[in-house]
Assembly symmetry: C2
Homo-oligomer: 205 residues x 2
DNA sequence: ACGACATCTGTCATGCACTGACAGATTCGC
DNA sequence: GCGAATCTGTCAGTGCATGACAGATGTCGT
């Protein structure tokens, strides 16, 4: 479990302490109302040190989301190779979301992140930026799955971008319109619509 | 042309002057290297006034992109009502892009914005945020076109988000991999792939 | 166990983005 | 012209973020 050195373990502890303290303050005072100094103080660390662990105040809020991307990558690797890409991506995402929904400790922070993303423009902004950063990696993995070249063939990038967009729509619908549903179900439905094609005809007059 | 009052015209002039000065400085010194003070000074205005016209330094860079969204809305209204949504959206976007490509003055600023978005994380971040803000309006218009309710039916939101994602992929491919192509053509192809469906099977071993 | 070394941390100083408050200037409606 | 509404500059202040340096702490060889 902890094969790392003392120094490594200490770093990991302060990192987690910073995240916990930040979420605690964010959820009580709100994102913009809490200063980096406050976060650092409640862990008894200088604010200078905070910025040695996180590039910005937003980064500490989106660190959990980054982890989710990594989880999706793992889940995607487990899907059978002959599954169509969107279907594989759909199952991988839904599986990861369900794990967080039923995953005890993380579940509350998971919900907290969603709230921050919706209420704080700066967090939304950083979150979207991180998503596009991860799109390259996701596209690369999709390309491998399709057996095509990830730079000359635009399809993997499209699949990655479109999937990410579907997830964002699902999360947003959950927070704004359908709070009673589970995010995993909404995401599942969004992906299902994508698989079926989306060039809908206009309604008949 | 200028049916507005003196005051309104003056405001419009300083606003445009600020945008021009900002792009001039951004393209020579880079985004993060130019300060708001410099932008304001070169228009002979206090930096406090700058923030009365733009909410942030990033906003002045993305103001042009916002205008493009409005242009797409207009173009979409002109498309025949019986055209399938993705097809209509495709033609509307391509038309707007072509107008900018061949549109003299705007063309250089247009390219400058793309460069800023790619090179400056803060601009990318704000740009993405603005896109999601506009997604609501776009989804609403798509819903009207489809003759469905924009809040209970998730399909309009999906169409909007997916289209936006396709555009982002096209722009990015242009700047990174295919600088010789025209953005409008790349976007056209991306939309074509979406219309055809994207649940690609894996390559045969 | 001890010293040489690498790494981590706090302090200090600095720059820049952004905001509220107030006062003076400009424009507008009459 | 004159009062009212609006715009602008100045000032002061907060918060985020970064570089530089010195001291503290962990690491490793002997």
């Amino acid at each position: 479990m902890d094969g790392a050195s003392l120094r490594e373990r200490k770093k990991q502890r302060t990192r987690e302490a910073l995240i916990d303290a930040a979420f605690e303050l964010f959820s009580t005072k709100g994102f913009e109302a809490t200063t980096v100094d406050e976060i650092a103080e409640s862990v008894e660390v200088s604010s200078r040190t905070f910025f040695r662990y996180f590039g910005s105040k937003e980064d500490v809020a989106t660190s959990l989301q980054l982890q989710q991307f990594l989880d999706v990558y793992s889940a995607l690797d487990e899907r059978p190779a002959d599954e169509p890409v969107m279907t594989a991506l759909r199952r991988a995402c839904v599986q990861v979301l369900r794990a967080y929904e039923e995953g005890g400790t993380d579940a509350t922070q998971f919900a907290c992140v969603m709230e921050l993303v919706q209420k704080s423009p700066a967090v939304l902004s950083r979150s979207l930026e991180m998503c596009t950063e991860q799109l390259d990696e996701l596209a690369r993995r999709v390309a491998v799955r399709m057996g095509v070249d990830p730079v000359s063939d635009p399809r993997p990038k499209l699949v990655a971008a479109v999937s990410s967009a579907a997830l964002q729509v699902a999360v947003r619908a959950w927070r704004e319109d359908e709070p009673d549903e589970k995010v995993s179900d909404l995401a599942d439905r969004a992906f299902a619509l994508l698989e079926a094609g989306i060039n809908y005809p206009a309604a008949r007059a």
